[in-house]
């Protein structure tokens, strides 16, 4: 049946207009994958440096100016390390989990307006899509831990699932707040609405606090790093991963940090909006860096909870506060 190469070449030449190239480039390079990877490494550097300075130490120093290339160096080092797949583990899941864990935050980030208020893929209801991917991430975490057979990762994955039960509902409730205020379920409209009126943090401060706490739990940062509690269960669900898989997992976690800080910036701090001459992307970067530093600060001042304390704490305190926030908005207080 032989492929007619000439026809295929002709077809590509015809399709390859400048417009498709630009959109391809915007997906692959600028506000797309490459840029987000670079952003992920940068934010990991910001987080590690700020966290270190809070603890009165230097943090990464020697790779690049002020150690800025350290996350990249770690990534490349892990790529070169031996990649063990346990023979007793569930091979398919064990290999796919890191890939999903990286892909999910990456695709979700396209929904958030970065370059300018009109992000490349924006549709009505992408806020629900973001919430859905957060749940998917935790399911991938659960499958990753469950498929690697060691008991530490199994306990870690069960704890990750339990913790999700805790923060999922308050987060869902609280994220709806800005949507109600902006009368739309699209992050792009929420950003546009905020550029016309006040930032959402001034209108719904309670929502901001609850969202930050829930994102801390979603990112498994210290007060809620029970699924990978270093002193109890070695590295929790990530214990059995090594080499390339671990590199993907770490990059996935950095992207999740970018996603979380982008969500905080877009929903509550006005996202990437025009501010007389400064291009919106710089505004976006400043706000997300602030969000990363806020998360890092919270990570530094708490000890780790126990899983039963997290669940009871979430259900007894966070859920009522989230419903209170919704009630306040209905009463017209939230904008």
């Amino acid at each position: 049946m032989g492929l007619d190469y000439a026809a295929v070449k002709e077809e590509i030449r015809q399709r390859m207009t400048t417009e498709t190239i630009i959109s391809l480039m915007s997906i692959l390079v600028f506000p797309g994958a490459m840029f987000l990877f670079a952003l992920a490494f940068f934010y990991e550097w910001v987080d590690r440096k700020f966290f270190a300075r809070l603890q009165n130490r230097y943090g990464p120093l020697h790779t690049g100016p002020h150690g800025i290339l350290q996350p990249l160096a770690d990534f490349l080092k892990l790529l070169s390390k031996e990649d063990i797949t346990l023979h007793a583990s569930d091979r398919l899941l064990f290999i796919l989990a890191p890939i999903f864990y990286l892909a999910l935050p990456l695709t979700t980030l396209f929904v958030i307006p970065i370059l300018d208020p009109t992000s490349s893929i924006a549709f009505e209801g992408d806020l629900i899509f973001v919430l859905f991917t957060f749940t998917l991430v935790i399911i991938t975490v659960f499958l990753a831990g469950w498929s690697s057979v060691s008991r530490f990762s199994t306990i870690g994955s069960v704890r990750a699932a339990l913790q999700m039960l805790g923060y999922e509902i308050p987060m869902g409730l609280v994220v709806i707040g800005p949507a109600i205020a902006a009368r739309s379920l699209s992050i792009r409209r929420v950003v546009e609405w905020q550029s016309l009126n006040f930032w959402m943090i001034l209108l719904q401060p309670l929502g901001f606090i609850i969202l930050t706490v829930c994102l801390l739990a979603e990112l498994q940062f210290v007060p809620f790093d029970i699924p990978e509690a270093e002193t109890e269960i070695v590295a929790g669900w990530r214990t059995e991963f090594s080499g390339r898989k671990l590199a993907l997992l770490r990059l996935g976690k950095d992207l999740e940090l970018v996603l979380a800080s982008a969500l905080i910036a877009s929903l509550y701090l006005g996202g990437s909006q025009h501010f007389w001459l400064i291009p919106p992307i710089v505004i976006f970067l400043v706000k997300t860096t602030f969000a990363v530093m806020l998360l890092s600060l919270l990570r530094a001042v708490f000890a780790r909870f126990r899983i039963d304390q997290v669940l009871s704490g979430m259900w007894k305190y966070l859920l009522p506060l989230a419903t209170l926030q919704i009630i306040l908005i209905q009463l017209g207080l939230g904008g």
Binding site: R53, L54, Q55, N56, R57, Y58, L61, L297
Partner: protein, 114 residues
């Protein structure tokens, strides 16, 4: 949240950690580093190999012809040899960076110049 104030204060203080090996701490006066033999003062009495708890000193020959072999990888810097030496031929130096890759290079020989 009681810890927040303290944590933020640290932001403006110089980090307490040291950029070793670029910056090095100065070692106090009589620090117990690697023991150094002054072979001219040594009369080969054989007290130091006998008293060394980890048998890190080996003496070849006797009396004024004695030569010392010091195994730094076995030495624990307790300073007992410097203390017991009747002629004060052993001095605890300030060297503490003694790690290496090859144990055979960690033997210091003190020969008599004939």
């Amino acid at each position: 949240m009681a810890f927040l104030k303290e944590a933020l204060k640290q932001l403006f203080r110089r980090p307490a950690t040291l950029k070793y090996p670029y910056e090095k701490l100065t070692v106090p006066k009589d620090f117990r580093g690697r023991p150094i033999w002054d072979i001219k003062k040594c009369i080969g009495c054989g007290l130091c190999p006998e008293v060394c708890p980890s048998r890190a000193i080996e003496m070849i020959g006797k009396g004024l012809e004695a030569e010392i072999k010091h195994y730094v990888d076995r030495c624990m810097f307790c300073g007992q040899c410097a203390e017991i030496c009747p002629k004060n031929a052993i001095r605890m130096s300030e060297e503490y960076e003694l790690s290496g890759f090859d144990r055979s290079k960690m033997i210091y020989e003190y020969k008599r110049d004939h």
